[in-house]
Structures are given as C-alpha cells and as structure tokens.
C-alpha cells in the first residue's frame, strides 16, 4: 500500500505533468488556434529605414483590393490620442508613427482584411514615401553632441535616457586606492533575441452590445496589461478581459505591450469584429523586445594573497528608440547591482547610463532575471581575470572569497540582503562530480602536446521573486502575487493564481503545493490562470518570480483553509481545536492518532455539517507580499576543446549544481535547468545581433540568427544542493533563469582558460568559430 505522500503527489514528487495530455494530442490552445466567428485579420507595414521622416502614406491601392477593410495609420490613431502609449519604464513609445520612424521594421501602418493572405497582399500595396535621416547605431556615438536625435519628442534634447547608481563610490575608491592588485576589462554583451518557437500575437474582440473588449494575447502578465489598457483607453477594467491562452514559450519576450496588440484592439473596437494579428518570425526578431546590449567596463581590486576587496562597474546600456524594458520602476538597470555576486566584497560602485539608438526597444527579454545575466557575466569573468593575473586556480580563488554559510542573511555592498546560501558546498559538489583535479592534470598534458582544452567555472548567485512592496512596483502596481482556492464538497479543488505559465508546468506544480498543504490528491486539484475575469490579480510570470510570490500565496491560502478546517475537525471529532494537530496529512486529536479525519471528510462537512455560527464553504484568498527576494545559486563547471583548424569550440562536459531551496517537482526543475543551460550556451557560442551603419539588422531570420539544435547542445549533467529560503512559506526559491544566468560565463571562462597560456585574458561573446580562429591566428596557434 502506497504511503499517503506518494499518492498525494505533493512537495518533492516528480509528478507527471497535468498539462501534457492536451499538448501531446495537438489539442493545445495557442493564440493562432483561436478562431472566433466573423474574425478578420491584421498585418503590418514596416519601415525599411532605421531613421526617416514619413512624407506620404498612400493606401489607395491597398484599399482597392477586394477583402481589404481598412488601413490604419499613425494619423488615425493620433486623432484618438493613441499614437503613443506609455512604456513600463514610464517612457512613451509610438504605437504608429505620425511623421517619423525610429528603427528598422518599425510598425508604420496596419492593413485589416477578411483573410490572412489578403491582409499580407494589402501590406505589399501600401505605398510609403520616406525621407531618410542619418541613423545612430553606436551608443557611444549617440552620446556625442552632434549625434542624430532619436527622440525629439522629449524635453531633454539628447540621447541620454537616465543615469543610475548603486553602492558607495567613496568607499570603493578608498578600497581601490589601498588595493595591491587591480584588474580591468571591457566586456560587451551583445544584443540577442529570445525567439520562443511561438511568435507573438493576439485576437482582439470588442463586443459592441456589452461594450466589452476581450483580448486573447500572448502575454506573461495579463492583469498588468488589463490595467494599462484601462488607463490608456479609458475603458473600465470590468469591461476589459485579457486572456492568456496556452503560450509557446515566453522567457520575457511576451511581457511588453507590442504596438500590434494595441492596433488590433483599435481595429476591433472600430469594426466590432474579432481581429487576429500573428507576427511572422522575421517581424518577431526584427521588431520585438531584445535583451542585453550592455557595454561594460569592470574593475576588481584585491590583495596579493587573493582577497577580493572592491568592484567598480560602469555600463552603457543601449536601449533602442524607446525605454520599454520591463523592469520594476525603481530599477532602470534591473537587478544589475547584484554584480558583487557570491563574494564577500567590502565595497562596490555600479553606474549605468541608458542611451537611445535607432534600434527596436526592450532590454530584458531573454530569461535574464532583470539583468542578472549581465551582472553574473561581469563578476564571474572578473574573478577569472583576477585568478589569471595572480596565477592562482580559479576554484581556489572563489573558495577563498565566498560569502560563508554562517554569514547569511548577508547584506551586500549594493544593498541586497541575501536570504541563504552555501556556496562552498555547491562548488565542492560540482568539482567532485566533474573530477576537477583530473581535468587539470589532463589539461596540463594536452597543453604540452599543443591541444587546446579549457575548464571554466561559474559560481553565481541569482536574485528572484520580485518583490517586496517597499521596493518593487511596475508602473506603481506593487509586485505581490496571489492565489485563490476553493475546495468542493467531494474533496476536489480549483486553484486560481495570478501568475502565467509559458511552459514551466504551473498547472502541475501549483497543484502539488496545494496537495502538500491540504492532503488532497494532486489529480483532484485543477489550476487555472490567465483569465483576468476570474484569476486573482497578479503581476505575472517572468524573472523567476512565480514560486517565490504566487507559490507562497498558494501555501498561505492553503494554510488559511487549514485553519478553518481545523475548527471543523474539532467539531467532527468533538474535541477542542487546541487539541487538534495536522499530522501525516490528517487532522488528529493530540495523543490519540486513531481519532482523525481527512481533508476530504472536512470538505464534505464544510457544506453539510459545519459548526453553528461558522460560514459554510472551504476557500481562501491570499495576496502575498514577499518580505524579501530569494537567492538561488549554483556552481557550474564547463570543459571545452578548441579545434585549432576551425576555431570551433566543443563543450565536452558541463556539470551544473543548482540550489533553489526546497523543490516542488524535481523532474520539472531539471527540465528548467536543461533549457536554461541551452539558452546560456547559445549566446556564448552562437547568438548575437548586429546592425550595419544604416541601421539594418544583420540577423533578421533563422537563417542568420542561429538557435542551437540537438546537434550543438551537449548532454547536460545536473545535480543539486538544498539550502531552503528562511522567509519563504515552504523554503523554496525561484529557478527558471538560474541556468541562463550561470552558464555563459562558465563557457567563456573555459575558452579563455584554454588560451590563457598565450596571454588571452578575455573574449566577448558570441565566441563563434571565426572569432576564435582569428584569436588563434593572432597567437600563432591556428592550424591549416
């Protein structure tokens, strides 16, 4: 007979996913699967120029095509006050331009037609005349006095957006002044695009009779969208319904409000018909929210014995033509100030300057945890640079400088309070698993024979679960999250949450939380989310926040139910509530385990036999304000071999030891790590976006922008340590982005390590074969 825990499928069980049955049968409901009666289609005319005045838009030929119903331009939207919309960073962004385009592939007009193909035909027939202007593509040049002005609409007539600082400059300067060793590097983390396999889209449907706008949208944050829509359009929120259907990958790329959504909504309001807009892949890559594009100069000060003292970082952030990064409002550079990482530094000073250029907007849309990818890349690279300078082993240098387990909660020099961590244990486990000492011996032997082998380490601290209301908000909305649970008389439950899965398995994991807390079998618990009419208000899923915030809310709501249930148990067992305890998923009388009732018994009683004076029913809601963020961490070790004839880097082995506190579903966590590692390797070796001097993007389709296939991706080896979060209701931390954060510097450190003996100290990503080969040639190591 199985134990109750196994049949329940609660915490720690690798329960098979409840969402799989429909996906396996091709019965998922993604945005392009939605068909509404009378639905019409929208396609978008886009600018070939990165910077130009629009002198004329002639839609006559398009309008003459049978099936084309309307062509919407910026002038049409301007008349309704909708040509511009607010961004999540309190900037504003064009929905459609009235007279100027500011990035290539910018939306210029929209064609509405009865059929998808006719809308595309219509786009070919809209004639737009442009007067090209010189674009500014280099963020450094953008700050020069005679640079083309990207945003003449702003009061401040230059391309500088904001300046942001963290840490203590004076303390840092003092530490540098007294340091015996200082290392300095320039690092460029190029623009990349997350390219989830499903692109973005929406079906906007305005019901003229009810005056209600329903919009199906690929969005990771449906409630926030609803509120923004309401504020911009004036339609009250009870008359706006945002529905996230099944989403084919988000990773942050489905957080922004894209102009297409707004134009489709306007078209639907005007026509009273449902309007579908689905972007092509090339539109997705060329116009949608990007990630990274940080130009960083970092300095690390230390003593000769390797004790790290201070860190100084200056960054130029290329934000494109609008500041539309989806960061919490007080953090224009996201959580970049966690850049002191896993190390006990005395002082740090971080400065970031945001700049406008003639490129699409964005900044955090590639599983980056609000710029933690950039932060970890910086510190993990600098630690290796320092190790190389001092001639010490990078593992030893890390061990020496780790924040020690007994120092938690730990206050960092930039003001973060790390909740818990055990960095030495994670690194030791990774080193043992990969056989670090043997690898170093092998490397020495290979080096003597002229073979290039490298070992790279990354010991990262992540910072997730935004966030406490005293510090975090998006456009003023605090970043709590929520859960509502209703238990039925026959012992099943429906759980509604404010976060939004895009493949992370919430329908399973959140049911598991409730299974654990209430002792109800996981298969009898349904999780719903994504419909703003029914789900409690939440801020959505991104930056690995769901388990830390909504997961906590789910546990707390469950415990509120358990509190009421205890009183019903007391009534059923004819005992005093103080004598009732919850043990082994049952309520029992203390000291008399034979006298017990299950939650199923209680659920029935809540509707049929509840104590006099008590409300019937068994439900609860919780809006959880996290007291702090959570700090997952990990130790990654990467082994590479470099082909001297081609410059190709092959990842021979990659061991990832992750710690995300208590784990709900080990199978799902492991899957998140595999996917995250792949999205960490990709920017390190394959992916990067560049622009030519005219502002043309040079990787506009999957032919040029290369995603890793099963051939490039190594067999990831994963393991874990468990250091619970002391403040989280069940000790869990987030994990979705840990691997994307931790992996890239491990790969770079490995490649640099392979070439350190000839004096290479840094390589910028992506480390394509051509880039590596040029380096080999420069150092006399190239063959053939």
């Amino acid at each position: 007979m199985t134990t109750p825990a196994q049949t329940l499928g609660g915490m720690g069980h690798s329960v098979k996913r409840k969402e799989d049955p429909r996906f396996l049968r091709g019965k998922g409901r993604y945005i392009d699967d939605i068909k509404l009666p009378g639905m019409i289609y929208m396609d978008i005319v886009r600018s070939p120029y990165a910077h130009a005045n629009i002198t004329k838009i002639d839609a006559s030929k398009a309008l003459a095509l049978p099936g084309v119903l309307a062509v919407i331009t910026g002038k049409d939207l301007d008349a309704a006050g909708l040509a511009w919309m607010p961004t999540l960073m309190s900037d504003k962004q064009m929905v459609l331009p009235v007279d100027r385009v500011v990035y290539q592939a910018q939306e210029v007009a929209a064609v509405i037609a009865t059929e998808r193909y006719i809308a595309a035909d219509g786009v070919q027939l809209v004639e737009v005349e442009y007067d090209p202007l010189p674009p500014v593509v280099d963020p450094f040049k953008a700050l020069e006095p005679d640079a083309p002005l990207v945003r003449p609409d702003r009061e401040q007539k230059n391309n500088h957006i904001w300046h942001w600082e963290a840490g203590d400059a004076a303390q840092t300067d003092a530490a540098f002044a007294s340091a015996e060793v200082v290392v300095k590097e320039d690092l460029y983390i190029p623009r990349i695009h997350v390219c989830s396999i499903e692109t973005c889209g929406c079906v906007a449907s305005f019901d003229k009779v009810e005056g209600k706008l329903t919009i199906y949208m690929t969005t990771q944050a449906p409630h926030a969208i609803r509120t923004v829509y309401s504020l911009v359009t004036g339609i009250p929120e009870n008359k706006i319904r945002v529905i996230s259907p099944d989403i084919g990958g988000g990773f942050g790329g489905k957080v922004p409000v894209y102009p297409g959504y707004v134009i489709a909504s306007v078209a639907s309001i005007q026509t009273g018909l449902p309007v579908k807009w689905i972007e092509d892949r090339s539109e997705n890559i060329q116009a949608d929210s990007f990630a990274r594009d940080y130009h960083i100069t970092a300095e690390l000060a230390a003593d000769k014995d390797g004790t790290m003292k201070a860190l100084r970082v200056k960054t130029l952030a290329d934000h494109g033509a609008f500041d539309a990064a989806a960061n919490p409002s007080k953090f224009p550079a996201g959580l970049f100030s966690v850049v002191t990482g896993s190390y006990n530094l005395q002082a740090a000073h971080v400065e970031v300057d945001g700049v406008y250029t003639n490129k699409p907007s964005g900044g955090v849309a590639y599983r980056c945890s609000f710029r933690v990818t950039e932060a970890v890349h910086t510190i993990e690279r600098m630690v290796d640079v320092l190790a190389q300078k001092l001639g010490v082993d990078p593992a030893d240098l890390r061990m020496k400088n780790f924040i020690q387990p007994e120092s938690f909660p730990y206050k960092s020099p930039t003001g973060w309070e790390y909740d818990s961590g055990n960095y030495p244990a994670a690194l030791q486990k990774a080193m043992a698993k990969i056989g670090y000492a043997d690898l170093r011996r092998e490397q020495a032997e290979k080096r003597a024979r002229g073979e290039l082998m490298g070992i790279g380490i990354s010991t990262f601290t992540e910072i997730v679960g935004a966030g406490p209301s005293h510090t975090f908000d998006i456009l003023g909305i605090k970043m709590f999250d929520s859960c509502e649970i209703r238990v039925h008389p026959t012992g099943s439950a429906i759980v509604r949450i404010g976060v939004q899965t895009q493949g992370q398995g919430h329908e399973t994991t959140f049911a598991q939380i409730v299974a654990e807390e209430l002792g109800l079998p996981v298969e009898n618990i349904t999780v719903e989310h994504g419909d703003t009419d029914t789900a409690p208000y939440g801020l959505g899923t991104y930056a690995s926040r769901s388990t830390p915030t909504a997961g906590a809310a789910t546990a707390v709501a469950s415990r509120k139910i358990r509190e009421k249930a205890k009183n019903i148990a007391a009534h059923l067992l004819e005992a005093n509530p103080d004598d009732i305890e919850w043990s082994d998923y049952k309520f029992q009388v203390k000291g008399a385990p034979g006298r017990s009732v299950t939650m199923k018994d209680i659920a029935f009683a809540a509707y049929t036999n509840h104590p006099q004076g008590m409300e019937a029913g068994l439900e609860a809601v919780d809006y959880y304000d996290p007291p702090n963020l959570t700090f997952p961490f990990g130790a990654y070790i990467c082994v590479v071999d470099i082909d001297r004839g081609t410059g190709a880097v092959k990842i021979r082995r990659f061991v990832a030891v992750d710690d995300c506190g208590n784990i709900i579903n080990p199978m799902i966590v492991e899957g998140q790590i595999h996917g995250g590692l792949t999205m960490g390797m990709a920017p390190a070796l394959l992916e990067g976006i560049s622009y030519d001097e005219n502002g043309n993007m040079q990787q506009g389709t999957f032919m040029e922008y290369l995603l890793p296939t099963a051939m490039e991706t190594p067999v990831w080896e994963t393991d874990k340590t468990v250091t619970p979060s002391p403040h989280h209701p069940f000790g869990a931390k987030g994990v979705g982005e840990s691997a994307t954060v931790g992996a890239p510097p491990a790969v770079v450190n490995a490649v640099v390590d392979a070439l350190a003996h000839v004096g290479v100290t840094h390589i910028d990503i992506p480390m394509t074969p051509w880039k590596v080969y040029e380096l080999l040639e420069a150092h006399g190591l190239a063959e053939g």
Binding site: D20, R22, R25, G26, R281, G675, T701, A710, W716
Partner: protein, 175 residues
C-alpha cells in the same frame, strides 16, 4: 500564374479532406484552417524550425514550405492521428514519461519527425536521434529529455514488435 481556385483532396490521418483552394495556400494553412487540425504549428518563415513538420506519405515534410496543391492526393499524418483507439502512440507516451515537452509548441513537429525516424531506425543511438531531430528547434527543453523520450518510445516499439513474435513462438510451442 493563375489565381483561380483548384479543387484538391488530401487524406489527413486517414480522412479525406476536399476543398477549393488558392494555389498559393500553404499546406500548413490547409491543415490548420481548412482541415481545422491546429496541432501542427508555425514557428518561423524560413523553413528553419520544424514546428510544422508532418508526414507526407510517411516521410517528414515541413508543411510551411509546400503548397497544399502539391500535396493533392497525398496521405498526410499529423499529431492528431497518433493516438489510436484511445491509446497513445509510444512516442507520445515517451514524451509524457520523460518530460520531453514544456511549452508544447515544438512538440507535434518533434514527435512526427521521431515517429518516422523510429520506423526507419528502431534501435538508434542518442547521436542518431540528435541528428534526426536536428531540423526541429526547441527553446524550452535543451533536448536532453527529448532524446530520452524518443529512446523510451524506441524501446516500447521494439517490445511491441517482439510481442507478436513471442505469441507465435508460444503458440508453436504448445502445438
């Protein structure tokens, strides 16, 4: 070049589907919008991602890179046809058991490619599997569990092949 509609009949998962269509209608749109089978997905516009992969007369084909008129008279298999009589195909079972999917968007194309591959190569190495699915992009899983899912299916399918032979042997033994 004619804009005139053409009548085509495609057999999809064993069912004939006839319609008058424009010659330029892509096969994937025929499947999704004329036959109303939305399990086959579109992920790119350069034939790079494989989300649209179906079987065309048993051979994997990227349905976004064909016109429906080119498939006139052909037998098409899509993900909706994998489950038979309420029983999941071993490939579907493998993806379920081994957590071979997360967002599910690449999964139909991935599974159809796997189905055709395993019919040709019932006992593959992991490397052969990776090569077979190298035309199917996945952004969520990192491929490790997809390879395990396909190995699971391969083992199941080998068992199922062996089972009838054992029954025959058993019958002979008792004669």
């Amino acid at each position: 070049m004619s804009d005139e509609k053409q009548r085509v009949t495609l057999t999809i998962n064993g069912q004939p589907v006839s319609a008058e269509i424009e010659p330029r209608l892509l096969l994937v749109h025929f499947i999704r919008e004329v036959a109303n089978l939305t399990g086959t997905h579109i992920g790119c516009d350069t034939t790079s991602c494989g989300a649209c992969a179906v079987l065309l007369n048993g051979v994997p084909a990227k349905s976004c890179t064909m016109f429906a008129v080119q498939a006139d008279g052909a037998n098409i298999s899509t993900v909706e046809g994998l489950e038979q009589g309420g029983v999941l195909h071993p490939v579907q079972e493998g993806f379920f058991q081994e957590h071979g999917l997360q967002c599910g968007f690449c999964t139909p194309g991935m599974m159809m490619t796997a189905v055709a591959f395993l019919e040709r190569n019932p006992n593959p190495t992991d490397g052969e599997i990776r090569q077979a699915i190298s035309g199917n992009l996945c952004r969520c899983t990192g491929y490790v569990n997809i390879v395990k899912s396909i190995q699971y299916a391969a083992a199941r399918m080998r068992e199922q092949q062996a089972a009838p032979a054992m029954a025959t042997a058993g019958a002979e033994a008792t004669q």
